[in-house]
């Protein structure tokens, strides 16, 4: 074999290695399709995305933070905090005699506004007082957790039916007879055939994720984010207001977490203090599987979603097979560690690679 084909071969192997996550996803899909009876169906895939929404959104929140070289431990409990205060607000507005839709919208708006606060505080602590992100966000975890538990001491408040309908509804319905309809489930006889496509919350999540992907890839905001993670000193010298941008990043993460909280309460009617607590491992794992480095400067939104999908399909697949989800933790742990090791074997393309 001459050197050129050899080099081409190494390049192919390197490219395959770099996209190991995608290959893993495909292998996973094939495996579950063969091993789990009933896995290959529209319903199961909708469930993958429906229950995956939390990790998609939290993963992207974590991605922005991780690209800057930080970490946000508080997202899980901000989800709970937002789920509780949003239902509180909505109930409060309904009591004053407001009709459901405006009460709902106003409640969501206020929750999203308040949801910026934990991020603002931890961002300021990190940027101005040089508190390590781990500590600053853990202190916010404690504070939001404490406050949300205090708020539901006398029981959680139910969200109105409209929100639950939206949270568990679908974007598109089709039934023989009434035909296609958006948002509203057509009246059909019991047991009749109806096609439900794309859960509403998945649509919401992916619109947000699409915007964020655009922000990270094509805007100055995204450029600054990568610049800070790549080399803080260089970022400062090139005139980026690093501390201000850092605050913004943590606010964005906190905002996404509260959005997740609102989606949570729309799905499950009631808020819960530890609603997103168990998703911290999954969301950080999604980011790392998606090729980001905890040292910062690397990562993209779609690869994070790929990482989150790997976890979501794993969980759903195991459920369909009837295996207790305990195995999921073990497998996610192994994938998480392997991800870092594989990324070390197949480092990113350098300038020299692209020139060839």
């Amino acid at each position: 074999m001459n050197t050129i084909t050899k080099r081409k071969l190494t390049n192919v192997i390197m490219d395959l290695g770099r996209s190991w996550a995608l290959i893993f996803l495909i292998v996973e899909l094939v495996f579950f399709s063969l091993a789990a009876k009933g896995f290959l169906s529209l319903r199961v895939f909708q469930m993958v995305f429906f229950f995956g929404v939390t990790v998609f959104l939290l993963g992207v929140a974590e991605l922005f933070v991780i690209i800057t070289g930080g970490i946000d431990l508080s997202v899980g409990y901000i989800v709970g905090f937002a789920s509780i205060i949003s239902s509180r607000f909505v109930a409060l507005f309904l009591q004053t005699g407001m009709s459901t839709l405006p009460a709902l919208l106003l409640g969501i708006f206020l929750t999203l506004a308040i949801g910026l606060l934990p991020g603002l505080v931890s961002g300021l602590l990190i940027a101005k007082l040089r508190v390590p992100p781990f500590i600053a966000t853990f202190s916010m975890l404690g504070i939001t957790h404490g406050v949300s538990e205090l708020l539901i001491l006398n029981g959680a408040v139910n969200m109105p039916k409209l929100s639950t309908l939206f949270g568990n509804g679908y974007f598109l319905y089709w039934a023989p007879g009434p035909g296609l309809s958006l948002f509203v489930r057509p009246e059909i006889p019991r047991g009749g055939f109806i096609l439900e496509l794309i859960p509403n919350i998945v649509v919401v999540a992916f619109v947000v994720i699409g915007i964020l992907s655009f922000m990270l890839k094509r805007t100055v905001f995204g450029q600054y984010t990568y610049a800070i993670g790549g080399n803080v000193d260089a970022a400062i010298r090139s005139g980026i207001n690093v501390s201000r941008h850092t605050v913004k990043i943590y606010m964005l993460s906190s905002f996404l977490a509260s959005l997740t909280g609102i989606i949570y309460v729309m799905m499950y009617v009631k808020g819960k203090g530890d609603a997103g607590a168990s998703n911290l491992l999954d969301s950080i794992a999604a980011v790392v599987i998606g090729g980001a480095s905890l040292y910062g400067g690397k990562g993209t939104v779609w690869r994070t979603i790929l990482g989150a999908l790997i976890i979501a399909i794993l969980e759903t697949g195991l459920r369909v097979m009837g295996i207790p989800t305990f195995d999921k933790y073990i497998i996610v742990g192994i994938i998480l560690i392997s991800a870092v090791l594989i990324d070390k074997i197949f480092p990113d393309k350098t300038y020299m690679d692209t020139k060839e």
Binding site: L129, L141, L150, I330, I334
Partner: protein, 359 residues
Amino acid sequence: MTHTLSETIQGNRKLAFIARNWAAFFLLGFLILFSFTGKGFLSVTNFQNVGHLAVIAILMASAETFVIITSGIDLSIGFVMGFSSVTAGKIIQILYAAGGGISPGISIAIGIVIVLILSLIPGLVSGVLIARYKVPPFIATMGMWGITNGIALKICKGFPVATLPEVLTRIGNGYIIYIKPGGGISFFSLPHGVGNESIREYIRLIPYSFIFVGLILLVLWHLLRNTTFGQHTYAIGGNEEAAVRAGINVKLHLVKIYILSSFIAGLAGIFNVFQTGIGNFTPFGAMYELFAVSAVVIGGASLMGGKGSIFGSVIGVFLIAFLENGLLISGVVPFYRFIAVGLLLIIAVVIDQLFPDLL
């Protein structure tokens, strides 16, 4: 502005001393405050209870102290503890139920030995990943968190492991001295023939758990303070490259540190079995590792490494423990403790910023 402020404060040695030991002064302040606000706070019984319940947190924090001094972090200890507790429970349960001449004592001893050996494994794995393969400690130990948690849940199938020998809790919650007011004194257990129902009539002093944790702390304190092992630990955290040049086998030492941390978590799991009489898995919201990190940071360590002490970490644990207990006794809703820990952490790091160097 802040610079000059910190300089002036640093010039004042008394103030600097207070600031560097702020956690101890806070602890003292809380103790005085709660003695007034909480009925029964200032009593031997209450202090013993706080100490007894803090044993696991103390072990966790001292494990985390070693890791944090090397500028690492170990997120797996909470779940290694659950793994150890569940596995010990399961082994003891099987041997105990098997009967056939295996006395409770022997089955417990076998359980402890096996689990202590097993608990070295998570630390070995994450240590090798961190030292040899340069996986960030956060990720390596987070991976072990998932793996040990999954294995623990598989072993116990999601339920605590119960029906263990009753002698466990008798040791785990036993005291050295029992005094009946006006009725005499007995050592190591209630006087013969006295049932557990009349235990409240006795004044109980010095729980076994104090001896257990005291001995471990003494060993760890000595290890960190007076041995080359401790010196190397600080050296790696202070400046890893300098440590390499000074001829320290940094990789091997880091592996040892994570094994030690995992081993202490294993000990905590065994203590947990003795304390509760069942094998418990660690629930997600428990956050043992995060509270341990908080205690260590409150106790004066820095996540950047090179700083920290066993004594400081224990003060950190007691600050959190007494705060929780005092608030509870004073009739404040327990959830405030999360908020309080959050605020304490912020104070800790801000003070650390103002007084960067130890005297």
